[in-house]
């Protein structure tokens, strides 16, 4: 991009000055070239089409009224009834109903056309709103037509388009009048070669500042100057107006905030459902491979022991029976430990006493010394407490496994009664990142189900800070 504007002219510029000069030169070139770029042409076209759209919107009511009148006049007129009555009693109500019913459809079509124009000429893609849908799922019911928010929003855009099209017309005017003004000196002499006695009226000159009159050849140079200025300004004006138009288009012709929120909610709901299903599957596996198999084995061992003890009288094989009973005893204790771990994994009972108690148990059990600070004047919702607990448990487990840290600091603070702010810091080697399928990605998913947020700062070499914000209520 950098290009020197002056060659060896004896002045040694510092690089900074050179760059500044180059920048200034480029700015001048950009300004001068602006009217001749493809972009300027497309923006001009957009403004021109905008004017047409504005006119269409302005004309629409008149066209409709005209049509209604024509229909009224063409209707067969019963002799005893004047046409006016027919029009008032039948045509106008019917017409109004038709307009109201068709309004949102027309609005949508109008919006779609506008979005296409913007995509073609301004390279601005605006997502279309979701298709029309009524509660009953049918698209063409009156309720669906009348309750079609995006359709009405598009009509609203049509109204806003009227003042916008005035501005767009202004930009077009700048272009056209600029070119016309520039042309004045060239044709002046051709058409003003009248005898000195003849006095011609002045030639009007259109500028953004108003109408001026050119009476002399000298005056045409003023017109020329004004024309050049207008031509240089026109592309920027067109650009500004187009941008304004797009800024209005986005909320009015886009999917809408609500639709966007619905999409996000649908995503997070799907995640929550997946998470719940995965959790249930994991539980089933844990039970199937753990406690259940231990208990079945235990039952078998006891069965064998009771065989060794016989049904009555002296036991046929006391020693082996003793050994089997001891094994069964061990098995029962193992099964209990298994179940206890499992239960803690589902919902740690200590969590019922509140997050601080649960977390201090967790911190105390962490192999790396962990310092816990909490500031929770009010309790978060149970679901949030559970998510917070498991997130911190996962982060501590991660730190233990990967960080080589010697200290961990956990802070849990309720901020402004709305946000539960969690930070887990360690002085380890860093390098933690959210990678697909990794533990942190799992946490992100879990956190996003309640519209929470997680930030990971973990440069290579450490230290690592992981900050999680959760809402206080799910």
């Amino acid at each position: 991009m950098f290009r020197p504007t002056r060659d060896n002219d004896g002045v040694t510029d510092t690089p900074r000055e050179q760059i500044a000069l180059a920048r200034a030169g480029m700015a001048v070139r950009t300004t001068v070239a602006a009217p001749f770029t493809g972009r300027a042409r497309r923006e001009l076209t957009f403004c021109l089409i905008g004017v047409a759209f504005g006119l269409v919107v302005l004309a629409a009511p008149f066209v409709l009224i005209g049509l209604a009148t024509a229909v009224t006049l063409l209707l067969p007129r019963p002799d005893h009834q004047p046409a006016v009555n027919v029009s008032f009693l039948v045509i106008i109500p019917l017409g109004l109903v038709a307009i109201v019913v068709l309004a949102t459809t027309a609005g949508r079509a109008y919006g779609a056309l506008q979005r296409r124009v913007a995509a073609q000429l301004l390279d601005t893609r605006i997502e279309p709103p979701p298709p029309r849908r009524s509660a009953s799922g049918r698209e063409r019911t009156i309720g669906a037509l009348l309750g079609d928010g995006p359709g009405w929003r598009a009509l609203g855009y049509g109204l806003v388009k009227i003042p916008l099209s005035v501005a767009e017309g202004y930009a077009v005017l700048c272009w056209v009048a600029g070119i016309v003004n520039i042309s004045y000196p060239f044709w002046w002499r051709l058409f003003r070669n009248h005898p000195p006695s003849v006095r011609l009226s002045a030639v009007p000159m259109v500028t953004p500042l108003g109408l001026f009159h050119v009476e002399t050849f000298g005056g045409t140079f003023a017109a020329f100057g004004a024309g050049v200025a207008m031509l240089l300004a026109a592309p920027w004006l067109a650009r500004g107006v187009s941008r304004l138009d797009v800024a209005v288009m986005r909320p009015l012709l886009g999917p809408g905030k609500l639709a966007e929120q619905v999409r996000q909610l649908r995503d997070s709901r799907a995640q929550a459902v997946d998470d719940a299903a995965a959790m249930v599957r994991r539980l089933e596996r844990d039970l199937h491979d753990g406690a259940q198999i231990r208990l079945a084995t235990l039952a078998m061992t006891l069965g064998m022991a009771s065989e060794k003890l016989g049904t009555d009288g002296a036991a046929p094989d006391v020693d082996e029976a003793r050994e089997l009973v001891a094994a069964a005893h061990r098995g029962a204790k193992d099964a209990l430990a298994d179940l206890r771990d499992l239960v803690r994994g589902i919902h740690p009972p200590v969590l019922d006493a509140g997050l601080p108690d649960a977390l201090s148990t967790l911190a105390a059990g962490c192999p790396i010394p962990a310092r816990l600070t909490t500031d929770l004047p009010i309790r978060p919702a149970p679901a949030i407490e559970t998510i917070a607990y498991f997130c911190i448990a996962e982060l501590l487990a991660n730190a233990t496994k990967h960080s080589q840290a010697s200290h961990i600091a956990i802070d849990v603070t309720a901020r402004s009664n709305k946000t539960l702010a969690i930070t887990v810091d360690d002085d380890g080697i860093g390098g933690a990142s959210v990678t697909a399928g990794g533990g942190l990605a799992g946490l992100t998913r879990r956190i996003s189900t309640v519209d929470g947020d997680m930030r990971v700062t973990s440069p290579s070499g450490g230290p690592t800070t992981i900050a999680i914000d959760l809402p206080m209520s799910a």
Partner: protein, 219 residues
Amino acid sequence: MRRADMRVVIAEDAAMMRDGLVRLLTDHGHDVCAAVGDPDSLRAAVAEHRPDAAIVDIRMPPTHTDEGLRAALDIRRDQPGVGVLVFSQYIETRYAAQLLAGDASGVGYLLKDRVADIGEFLDALVRVASGGTALDPEVVGHLLRTSRDATGLATLTARERDVLALMAEGRSNAGIADALYITAGVVEKHSANIFAKLGLPPSDADNRRVLAVLRYLRS
């Protein structure tokens, strides 16, 4: 009905349970040719040892879904002489139907919990090894509850229903007599009544009788 020196292959991925089964069978004088933890080793061991029976856990690696069942079906198809006792922590009637499709000889489907009653479990294994059937009471109970011909079953007395259930589990008359604390003669009388009431062709062979009963319950 006790029979010693059966040759058995065990396929069970939980080591604890596998070791327990090995000990149990060896204790009772049976020969455990191989104790493996995955379906491929099971197929290899069965092909190599041609045992009297294979005890097969349904859920095994790699996916822990129904690998064991598929291996069991393969063995039944390829090695008809090997009794297959499928062993599971829960009962799926669909699996039972697949195992029993066409032929109820030398096949069993039992809950793992049944090992707690050592005698009954060994009985079932012996039955399967000698070409009989061992169907878990859970499966039979389900079939009895969901049988479409409720009217036919309603004509049976409570005792006859008990006998029918035990028959469906694959037990012999002597086994049924033992379980219900009645004589074999009484069992024979009951079973004749059952077959007459349900309109089934009388059959002496245990496994053909099982099949008739099961077919009746499933139809």
